[in-house]
């Protein structure tokens, strides 16, 4: 039995080392690949470094959607009720993208503070607002900034 035992031990050690290395590597690369959700308020406050991939979202501000004359580029603003952030996207917008809808975009901020989006998501459900956006709105309320003046849109009160 002795050589058998030894072999089993080698096997178990080999497995342990292999598996723990694998899990370690996975966990490390996971931390490198996370896209954190940031609210317009956080972005306006300068909490987000330029060039880092983030997800941002909010309600599309009425009247903020401006299309490029050539091609498919489009610029719009999203707000959480307290602040707003401009987003530029070159491509096909989802079916449910419209003013007042909640959307989430994935991309990086450039030096001008515009989010260069590589993806824009709006879910296939009129009732649905991405939960992140929902929480961003609530948070903005919580901060007692329930007025929209900061959002730079043209509501008249």
């Amino acid at each position: 039995m002795h050589p058998q035992r030894k072999k089993r031990l080698t096997l178990i050690l080999f497995l342990l080392v292999g598996v723990s290395t694998g899990v370690g590597l996975m966990a490390y690369s996971l931390t490198q690949n996370i896209n954190l959700f940031q609210t317009p308020t956080q972005i306006a406050a300068g909490e987000v470094p330029v060039g880092r991939t983030i997800r941002a979202g909010g309600l599309v501000v009425d009247g903020s959607v401006v299309r490029d004359t050539e091609g498919l580029g489009v610029t719009f603003k999203v707000t959480d009720g307290a602040a707003s952030v401009p987003i530029y996207y070159d491509g096909i917008l989802p079916d449910l993208f419209r003013e007042g809808q909640g959307i989430v975009a994935l991309g990086q901020l450039n030096e001008k503070g515009v989010l260069q989006a590589s993806e824009v998501l709006a879910k296939h459900d009129e009732n649905y607002m991405p939960p992140e956006v929902q929480e961003a709105l609530e948070k903005a309320h919580q901060d007692g900034k329930g007025n929209l003046k900061a959002a730079g849109n043209d509501y008249e009160y």
Binding site: Q4, R8, L15, G18, V19, G22, V23, M26, A27, S29, L30, N33, I34, N35, L36, F37, T53, R55, R67, E70, G71, L72, D90, G91, I92, L93, D95, L96, F97, H124, D125, E126, P131, E132, Q134, E135
Partner: protein, 653 residues
């Protein structure tokens, strides 16, 4: 009246499931055959009543009974009848009813196709399946009753089914996937029954194998159908998004694949017993996790949980009881004696062990990537998502490793084999694969691309090694192939399917052409050697929608190939807008167009794609299913238990 009948049937099924749990077990404990014999008729009765319940709900949908709240929320009188039927599983309550009904069907199948099993085994297996039934029927009745009435006043018309779900793919995809999920409960029940009886032997492994394979076929098909549906319905041309719903179906698939292979070792060599039992428990736990964590949406976010804590807590409790209960039984009853049988470092056992490791590591990686954001969210530490890039980085090397192992493993011998022998046998296969793979990118577009070489290399290697094996085993005579046995043929075809899928994934990931353009009628856009000409814009009236449609002429090298019509549908009832892509399908490439939004001067934003070898991704899955089907039909599984299974040298994995 019919909905009340459905509700009654569901409650009767619950009672029968309760009896099915208790009576056979009492019989086993007291060694009373006549009590054990109750298991089969009770399982049959349960299945019949569940079926009646599901039919009652379907009837309510077909006749537009909007007094039933669930029907009112998910159907509409304008909906075409086939979609009224598929709307039954369009939301949580109905999906759950379908889920438990399928559990009943699998129980029925076990009751019917287990003539050769000892009665006490059947009694235990059906009793455990009864327990699972009790839990989930109770959950349905308590928290998600699909028959609840909208009293006293019924709405005039229903709210309509989500347009995304009004589609053939969505009629077939969820039931198939559920069949797979639920099928794993059978294997789980077999494993627990064997633990209870203290009989983890070759016979148990042999009984479990066809059931595992059957469930695995459904899972494979379900996942492929889901991917195919997402591809043509979502209008992005993507076929795998690594979103939680997809991941939840892939995890049990990976573990079930590992289980199929470890069962082979347990049956043939009596090894890895504890491991196999653990895999069976994991596979079923993951399929529960998949169904309920993600499909039902109850636990997908804190928000969903908070708005419906009753369901969430119930599900977590069920999950907890299932997982912890079975693991406790495992800890108490699993054999601690070392398995008999030795094997050398280089042997079939080793290769199968490696296969299991790679598959499990893959499943674990996906679990990590799927649950991590959830856990962080639940802990209130922020909202984050794991990008698809991470999953790809994890999955690609693991798949490459797996393909390499398959090539060697299916060739190797039990107990001990020599590297030199394998080397001799497979030298030419390896060289041929390497040469072809290195040549491939130059043939494709003249540019070196290591990803293509890698992907195609392992796929060609797999094909070559499999063919060499077939050649050796049939001693070079085609006539002998049928004598090698159904399981062996099944294995060969399934492994070829893996290669076909890898080729498809490699090609479509590296050589797809895609562009989004602003295009007006009369203009053309060029993509590769295809020219897309916007022929005209028009309107189409559907049964419950109206659409804007664009017709494109697709030219290739100035030859008209195809006329494609893409649509943007607006559904009358909900007002939702849906993109209907137009796809020209062929074996070597798909041409894919979908509409974006209307722009100034009659122009539209259009998404145009050419996707080489797209069909191969799913073709591989079909191969795998056929292979699995052949393995299930192997006559060894229909053998009387008294017959000794000769340890032939036929290779089965």
């Amino acid at each position: 009246m019919v909905p009340e009948f459905g509700q009654m049937a569901l409650i009767v099924a619950l009672v029968l499931a309760g009896l099915q749990t208790v009576i056979p077990l009492v019989g086993v404990q007291a060694r009373r055959e006549w009590l054990m014999a109750y298991a089969r008729p009770l399982a049959t009765g349960q299945a019949v009543f569940l079926m009646a319940s599901l039919l009652a709900l379907t009837y309510a949908f077909v006749v537009d009974d909007f007094s039933v709240a669930y029907v009112a929320a998910n159907s509409n009188s304008q909906l075409p009848t086939p979609y009224k039927v598929s709307a039954v599983w369009g939301a949580h309550e109905g999906s759950l009813l379908l889920w438990v009904t399928m559990l009943g069907w699998w129980g029925l199948a076990v009751a019917w196709f287990s003539r050769s099993l000892p009665l006490d085994m059947v009694a235990r297996v059906l009793s455990i399946m009864g327990m699972v039934s009790v839990g989930f029927i109770l959950f349905t009745v308590q928290t998600s009753n699909p028959f609840e009435r909208h009293l006293p006043t019924a709405p005039m018309d229903g709210a309509d089914l989500n347009p995304l779900l009004q589609d053939f793919g969505l009629i077939v995809h969820p039931p198939t996937l559920y069949m797979g999920y639920v099928g794993l409960s059978v294997v789980f029940a077999f494993a627990l029954a064997a633990l209870m009886g203290g009989r983890l032997d070759a016979a148990w492994a042999r009984w479990s194998r066809p059931w595992t394979t059957a469930a695995w076929i459904f899972l494979t098909m379900g996942i492929a159908l889901g991917s195919w549906w997402a591809y043509y319905e979502l209008g992005w041309g993507g076929w795998w998004f690594w979103d939680p719903v997809e991941n939840a179906s892939l995890m049990p698939w990976l573990v079930a694949t590992a289980l199929m292979h470890s069962l082979a070792v347990t049956e043939k060599r009596g090894l890895f017993k504890s491991w196999t039992v653990l895999l069976a428990i994991f596979a079923f736990s993951l399929s529960l996790l998949g169904t309920f964590l993600v499909r039902s949406g109850v636990l997908t976010s804190v928000h969903a949980f908070a708005s419906d804590p009753e369901r969430g807590v119930f599900i977590l409790a069920l999950l907890g009881i299932c997982v912890c209960g079975s693991l406790l039984l495992y800890a108490i009853k699993a054999p601690t004696v070392a398995s008999v049988g030795r094997y050398e470092w280089v042997s079939r056992e080793s290769f199968l062990l490696m296969n299991n490791l790679v598959l499990l590591v893959s499943a674990f990686a996906i679990l990590l990537g799927t649950l991590y954001p959830l856990v962080i969210d639940f802990m209130g530490l922020g909202k984050l998502s794991v990008g698809a890039a991470w999953f790809n980085t994890m999955f690609v090397p693991l798949s490459v490793l797996l393909a390499l192992i398959i090539g060697m493993g299916s060739m190797s011998r039990w107990k001990s084999d020599g590297l030199s022998r394998l080397g001799n046998e497979l030298r030419w296969a390896f060289l041929a694969a390497l040469v072809l793979a290195v040549a491939a990118p130059f043939i494709a577009n003249g540019e070196w691309n290591w990803q293509v070489v890698m992907g195609l290399g392992v796929a060609f290697w797999l094909v070559a090694a499999t063919l060499v094996d077939l050649w050796k085993k049939s001693r070079g005579r085609l006539k002998r192939i049928p004598t090698l046995g159904m399981s062996y043929m099944g294995m060969i075809i399934a492994h070829l399917g893996v290669a076909v899928s890898i080729i498809g994934v490699t090609m479509v990931s590296n050589y797809s052409l895609e562009t989004s353009v602003k295009i007006a009628p009369g203009e053309s856009a060029v993509l590769g050697n295809y020219r897309f000409e916007f022929a005209e814009f028009g309107h189409i009236e559907g049964p419950n929608f109206t659409s804007d449609a664009t017709r494109f002429n697709v030219w290739r090298d100035e030859k008209l190939m195809e006329v494609l019509t893409a649509e943007k549908r607006r559904y009358n009832v909900s007002g939702q807008v849906m993109t209907e892509a137009a796809i020209d399908v062929s074996l070597l490439r798909d041409v894919y167009i979908s509409m974006g939004e209307p722009l100034a001067d009659g122009a539209w934003g259009m998404r145009l794609q050419v996707k080489p070898y797209m069909r191969w991704v799913w073709l591989g899955a079909i191969f795998m299913c056929i292979g699995g089907g052949l393995a299930v039909m192997d006559k060894r599984y229909r053998a009387r238990q008294t017959r000794k299974v000769a340890l032939s040298n036929e290779a089965v994995a």
